[in-house]
Amino acid sequence: MSAVAGAPPMAPSTGAPSGKAPMSQGKKLLYAILGAWIGGIVLFIILFGFKSHKAPAVASGVFSPTNEFKLDTWFKLGPVAFNKGVLYLLITVAITIGVMTYIARRLKQRPGRLQTAVEMFYEFTRRMSRENLDESMERKYFPLIATIFVFILVSNLIGYIPLPVDSGESFNVFGAAIPSFQIYAADTNVAFPLILALGVFVLFNYEGVKHHGPIGYLKSLMPGGIKGPIVGLIFPIEILSNFLRLISLTVRLWANLLAGHMLIAFMGGELGVLVGDQWVQWFLLPAGILIFLFEAVLIAGLQAFIFAILTAIYLGGAVESH
């Protein structure tokens, strides 16, 4: 089944009315796509039946939806096992460093398109860290915040480009076995957000302890103006919420990307494979395309933004006194 958004050539114009007034171009296209969609559902039901049989791999339980996120070790370099998650991280690092140094080397008076984008991004992160951190902290931590932003953004975005990394399946091109194409993001493995969040967590606690002293930092966790026996109740909650920041930073990035990729896979055909009905795949394909666009346009950037601004907020909150 082809995964194209436009109308396939076999589009029957079932939905189009035989009106006398000429339709506008956009309306014609809309009707053609709608007709192709409904016609495709009917065609698949006629061809394969409403209730079809499951694929052998699904019926025997060999195929599982979570296979998409399984990390097969490709080869080992000493203690480092190399798998597709590592490959994605290396691609991310290469793109991040490459684009940024390329732009920084050849800054021009009259910026080109890429330089304008990078400058806008610089202004954006600069303002973000300036609003949440004071002067000396901002000077120190702006590079970290901007790096986190661009690193997570690139890592999320290359997760929506199909790359030949699925070692479980392969297809032949002129005799060469090529791994099948797959969308995978390094963020769908919990280790990647966890290590970023752990770094941020250690850093803002270190800054807080350095600024207030160990006892003073614990005191500064309390909201101001609380006295009496209620302190014994509030204090454990505040300590707990300090540690929950680690979990919430991790789970927010990880689960967003994991659930997004699972939804794209399910809507883009996997659900049809699992229930064994071909028409279900065609039926759900528009939802798959919509979710793909939503994830790639909004969620990828939003999660990078959230992680970076929360880093700034936590760092700023650690050194500020109530």
Partner: protein, 97 residues
Amino acid sequence: MQFLHLFSSFHPFLGVVEPIIKQAQDAGRAIALGAGAGGGAAGAGAGIGAVFNASIQAKTRQPELREEIERDQWLGFALTEACFFYGLVGGFIAFFL
């Protein structure tokens, strides 16, 4: 489960009880996943609605603050949306572990 095994040596219907317990466990897991995902979606949906409601009201009252309001709106959106995933992850943990 362990409690039932204590009696199993002289229980005549062990063969009948065992698959029922297995099915009940499966049912409980499925219910946990459904409650986690469904409850999380309901809560996050209400929360996201509240965030956009407040944002629209603020923007119509103070159009000149549009940029700052929208930045806070997306911050609130992402923080609220994450709550759905806490529920979902809890459901998955109950389902698979």
